[in-house]
């Protein structure tokens, strides 16, 4: 409890009157001094009872957007405070930010109405991993004579806890494209090697980031500001079988369950998920950077069933495939071969050359290529039954490779090792992985 400036002035005036009473031996001064002291004394007791009323009536309800949060990711917090404020008093509510959590936006201090509730909404970024718990609230109480600050950090006012997953948990699995980590100009938890800018040293900067040469040149401390590195979630592609397939096939159900599980994991761990549902060469639907898990799951439920394939494919080669085939033919022509086989190679070469000249890029390939270039993904994960023609997967993996994205294909079926290798070759990937 702290006295306001006015109250302190009243106490000083009363003390001066009491001193004057002693000095002048006059009862009038004593009466005035004692009467003036009575005001802050009673006001102090009234303020204490008011404080007790406010504190005993406080009900704090706090909700966090997600219980499991990635380190460095933003999470929304809503704090509802309900209490009764006596007349003449004012109560300002502030949220106590626990160590390890940094508010993304300014946390407002709200004034409580006499009898009612206020809701504080803010976004916070956990900077350290592990179990973190919200500390509680702080109430600034004041009236005309006194003011006080009460930190309500007991179990009734604190919590809930959040589990902050460390950043290395989110490292993308290694794919042929690399580690999947990309530099970004934004400052993040993980620093990249790229220098974003240089600026003057401020308190708290890491001494390791001081650029000594620049500092010597300009005769003041200059630090390098490194950019951040970010992990981007992979695009999840679900390849649906033709309408003739049995929708209750256990393998298909397993495939969809696995894809849904992966979508859930990606949303929880990385915050967003991108989905593409295809059926052969036909694109059924695309969902990019979806943050809400229910929406992503309902998207799968809505579309993930055997579809009629309006456009079918049979061993559609890419232009590069044709070129490679032609080079192979030319190399064979240079070898010692029978004359009739040479004739065959010549004719085949002509056919392939005509094919290269009149090649029309499939629309599916263009769609994939545009999508991969437009939205930055960490890779492509395909969930497919791997039955029938796999030209569309070959086109998809080629489009992904052009933008340096790795492609992983998961299938639910019972193919032996030789069959797997054959299908991986047709799909244009090094290997396919079975869903147990």
């Amino acid at each position: 409890m702290r006295a306001t400036r006015c109250t302190r002035a009243v106490i000083v005036a009363a003390s001066a009157l009491l001193f004057a009473a002693l000095l002048l031996d006059d009862t009038a001064f004593l009466l005035c001094g004692a009467a003036l002291l009575a005001v802050p004394a009673v006001a102090g007791y009234v303020f204490y009872t008011g404080t007790r009323t406010v504190i005993s009536s406080v009900i704090v309800t706090r909700s966090v957007e997600r219980p499991v949060v990635r380190q460095g990711a933003s999470v929304g917090v809503d704090v509802t405070v309900q209490c009764r404020v006596p007349p003449g008093m004012q109560a300002d509510i502030r949220e106590i930010i626990p160590p390890g959590i940094v508010p993304e936006t300014a946390v407002p201090a709200l004034r409580l109405p006499a009898a009612g509730q206020v809701t504080i909404t803010y976004r916070a970024i956990p900077r350290i991993h592990g179990a973190l718990r919200f500390s509680g609230i702080s109430i600034d109480l004041s009236d005309a004579f006194f003011r006080a600050t009460a930190d309500l950090t007991g179990p009734a006012y604190s919590g809930p806890g959040i589990q902050v997953q460390p950043v290395p948990y989110f490292a993308r699995r290694t794919t042929p494209a690399g580690t999947g980590e990309r530099e970004t100009s934004r400052v993040g938890v993980i620093k990249s090697y790229g220098v974003r800018s240089v600026r003057e040293y401020v308190d708290g900067d890491d001494m390791k980031s001081v650029d000594w040469k620049l500092s010597a040149k300009h005769n003041r401390m200059i630090v390098r500001e490194y950019g951040g590195a970010e992990q981007r979630p992979a695009l999840i592609v679900i390849d649906l079988p033709d309408r003739a397939a049995d929708p209750d096939d256990p393998a298909f159900v397993r495939l969809i369950n696995r894809a849904t599980g992966e979508v859930t994991r990606v949303v929880q761990m990385q915050g967003t998920v991108s989905l593409m549902i295809i059926s052969g060469l036909n694109t059924i639907g695309v969902l990019v950077a979806e943050q809400k898990l229910p929406r992503a799951v309902s998207f799968i439920r809505e579309h993930a069933h055997p579809r009629q394939r309006l456009h079918a494919a049979y061993r559609i080669p890419t232009r590069n495939d044709l070129r490679s085939f032609r080079i192979t033919l030319e190399r064979q022509e240079d070898q010692e071969i029978p004359e009739d086989f040479r004739e065959y190679l010549y004719r085949m070469g002509k056919v392939v050359s005509r094919g290269i000249l009149s090649y029309e890029t499939p629309a599916f390939y263009l769609q994939c290529s545009r999508l991969f270039k437009k939205a930055p993904f960490g890779g492509v994960e395909v969930y497919s039954m791997l039955d029938g023609d796999l030209s569309h997967l070959r086109l998809l993996s080629t489009a992904a490779r052009e933008v340096r994205l790795g492609t992983r294909i998961f299938f639910a079926g019972s193919y032996d090792e030789a069959e797997r290798r054959s299908r991986a070759r047709f799909a244009g990937v090094p290997a396919v992985e079975a869903i147990p």
């Binding site: 009243v10 031996d25 009466l31 002291l37 504190i55 003449g88």
Partner: protein
């Protein structure tokens, strides 16, 4: 003004105090000037939410002059001044709080009694100072316990 009857009673208290001192021939002109100063001080506030420092201190010279003539006249006038300052102003935290006002009245009357029965100054001053310090200490201890219960 929140409550006309209380304000009127407070004004009546000031008048009664002056009447009580009337037989002892107080300096009327000075009293009326100081009453004017107090009334002018009633209208002054440093800030909308500040405590009524100016009206409280503006009433002190009036009570001082009145109680030099008559102690109980001064006590009555002081109660009246507190009634006007603490109860009459809507912005005051004690506005509408009879408990607050009655407690302050009781303390003023108690101080008047102590002064009336005392032969010298030291003991009443010590009692007032010790009472205030003790109350401050007790309030501090109670507040500490209250805050500790919230942790």
């Amino acid at each position: 003004m929140r409550s006309v009857p209380v304000t009127a009673a407070a004004a009546a208290g000031i008048g009664a105090g002056m009447l009580l001192a009337a037989p002892l021939s107080p300096p009327w002109l000075l009293l009326i000037i100081l009453l004017g100063v107090f009334i002018a001080g009633l209208t002054v506030r440093i800030s909308p939410e500040s405590c009524p420092l100016v009206p409280l201190l503006a009433g002190v010279p009036f009570v001082l002059v009145l109680s030099v003539t008559s102690l109980w006249g001064g006590v009555l006038a002081q109660c009246g001044i507190f009634g006007l300052v603490l109860f009459g102003d809507d912005r005051s935290p004690a506005a509408g709080s009879y408990t607050f006002l009655l407690t302050v009245f009781c303390i003023v009357i108690l101080a008047g009694c102590i002064i009336d029965v005392s032969n010298h100054m030291l003991l009443p001053v010590v009692i007032v100072a010790a009472g205030f310090t003790g109350l401050t200490g007790v309030l501090g201890a109670m507040e500490y316990r209250l805050k500790r219960a919230c942790r």
